[in-house]
């Protein structure tokens, strides 16, 4: 893995477009006196096939950043490109910026998988139906093909025998693995994880991290918000530390986790480790 701290590392050839390129991203919630400036100019570059772990104290804007990367939040300023394509907007011939039609935005989102802290499996569908739903509804896959594919994906996350269970009948770890399979069913080129193990009992964290590690090994580009420092150390190519809406320090895990230069990061690590 590359050991440079610059976002565009020499491991990736200069010709290759980064999977994620966020420039000067600002996010303000509300307006007027009650406005909350949550992201204050975040730059983030995620090379193809790499794993980026985002660390930071509660309220620093990690979830908000992740949600901006697949347009669940509309950014206030800046730009986000995924695989070279500008998210949410287009420039016309005169260079005027236009908001994209919701249908186009949905299409962009369908290429980006997201895994939530609280799973959000569809409660009225079995595990298999959860995984097969979006390929049928979004990609127009036949029901039979989608179910076959869903069965394969459930097998891949080790839940072939739970295909007919409803989410309420699954443990947290099993639910999160179904949620990962559900995201993978859309063949995403990028996977976003927002604290995927924070809602789990300690003994269930391992099974989810194992699935994520396998996914990283298979070459998936991943952005992971987590407090699992062990995962960051072993799996991440790049670690980003956020505080108060800005990226305070970033670099390869060895440098950032073992020799933090920022006092705020030092303090954060002393609490987490």
């Amino acid at each position: 893995m590359s050991a440079t701290t610059a976002p565009t590392s020499d491991a990736t050839p200069a010709t290759e477009v980064p999977m994620v390129e966020a420039r000067g991203v600002h996010k303000v919630f509300g307006h007027g006196a009650g406005a909350l400036h949550v992201l204050r100019g975040v730059d983030l570059v995620v090379p193809q096939g790499s794993v980026t772990v985002v660390l930071g104290p509660s309220g620093s804007g990690k979830s908000t950043l992740l949600r901006c990367l697949n347009e669940l939040e509309e950014i206030t300023a800046g730009s986000v490109h995924v695989d070279g394509e500008l998210l949410g907007y287009r420039h016309d011939a005169k260079g005027v910026l236009h908001r994209l039609h919701p249908r186009r935005i949905a299409a962009q989102r369908s290429r980006i998988g997201m895994v939530f802290q609280r799973f959000h499996l569809f409660g009225h569908m079995t595990a298999l139906e959860n995984v097969a739903e979006a390929p049928v509804q979004v990609r127009g896959l036949s029901k039979a093909a989608a179910r076959r594919r869903a069965a394969e994906l459930l097998e891949r996350v080790g839940l072939a025998d739970r295909a007919d269970h409803y989410p309420a009948q699954l443990s947290g770890g099993q639910q999160q693995r179904v949620a990962i399979a559900r995201a993978l069913a859309m063949d995403p080129e990028l996977m976003l994880f927002d604290e995927p193990t924070s809602a789990l009992d300690p003994e269930l964290v391992g099974e989810v991290l194992t699935v994520m590690q396998d996914l990283a090994r298979s070459g998936m580009t991943m952005v992971v918000v987590t407090h699992e420092i062990g995962f960051a150390r072993e799996v991440a190519d790049h670690v980003v530390f956020m505080d108060d809406g800005v990226v305070v320090e970033q670099g390869p895990p060895g440098a950032v986790l073992e020799n933090p230069s920022e006092p705020r990061l030092q303090e954060f690590l002393s609490h987490v480790l």
Partner: protein, 346 residues
Amino acid sequence: MTSHATDTPRAGARSSDLPEPLHARPVPRPGRWVSAVVVLVLAAMVLHALVTNPNFRWDTVWLYLRDVNVVRGVGWTLVLTFGSMAIAVVLAVLLAIMRRSDNPVMRSVSWAYIWFFRGTPIYTQLVFWGLISVLYPRLSLGVPFGPEFFVFDTRDVITAFWAALLGLALNEAAYLAEIVRAGLGSVDPGQAEAARALGMKESRILRRIVLPQAMRVIAPPTGNETISMLKTTSLVVAVPFTLEITYATSAIGTRTFQPIPLLIVAALWYLLITSVLMVGQYYIERYYGRGFDGGATGPRRGAGRKGSGGTGSTGGAGRRAGRLSRQAAIRGAGTTKDDPFAEVTP
């Protein structure tokens, strides 16, 4: 010793290890026996007074229960009930979606509709629908405020039946809209967000993800509304529409000078239909409760109960929370009719 049960998820399979259950005398409860006897005696007295009183004319009741006019009245009552409920459900979903819209015009129109139709008595509304052909003798299709292409005589289009059906449906839609709104609100926003992250369109999300889960909250009070509607149909005499069961029986009662037995005929039919509706309601609620009502729904297609061991206490807590929020949503719907005008159902 007791750790057996918790170590093995399927303690039932090792029944030989189960300890001998405790044997103890129950607490004596003479009060239960006394109260049961008192209530039974009272019930027997009521039944006796009903059956033996010659004024009820049970023979007449039995005769007219199967009368062709009465049975036809039952048919019209059913048509009015289900027809108006079907129209009302569609309208209510529209109103509820408008109520949640970002568009202030949509929100206000929906609010005003509900305000008006819940705020005026159904009887008044039905009289009004009956008079519509007097108020607007002509109906026309064309450009708003501009030229007209087709012109109808209102009396030909809105007959007494359609006036009754629409009157019931438009009023009911206002109540159902609040039920649907509470139902949509009861679904965790995370569900729509997860669907959005998968690239689903908003209309699909509503139809495939949100509405099916909202149905769990919507179905029970809607069943209640249907049963209530069954009896509200007796008010369509205000239109006047005179074929449904209450009017049909009371007409026979007046003609034969036997009003009491014919009231009983109508009451028995209402009871019978209500009983059938309650059975239907049970199955509908069970269908929409799938995946949520815990114990009742096993994993689909006989996969056994293997999963329940892992779910443990968290599953139970989740289910309990689900049930509580569902209760709150039903109560929040404000559909228990405390509106005195709405409660004119005989």
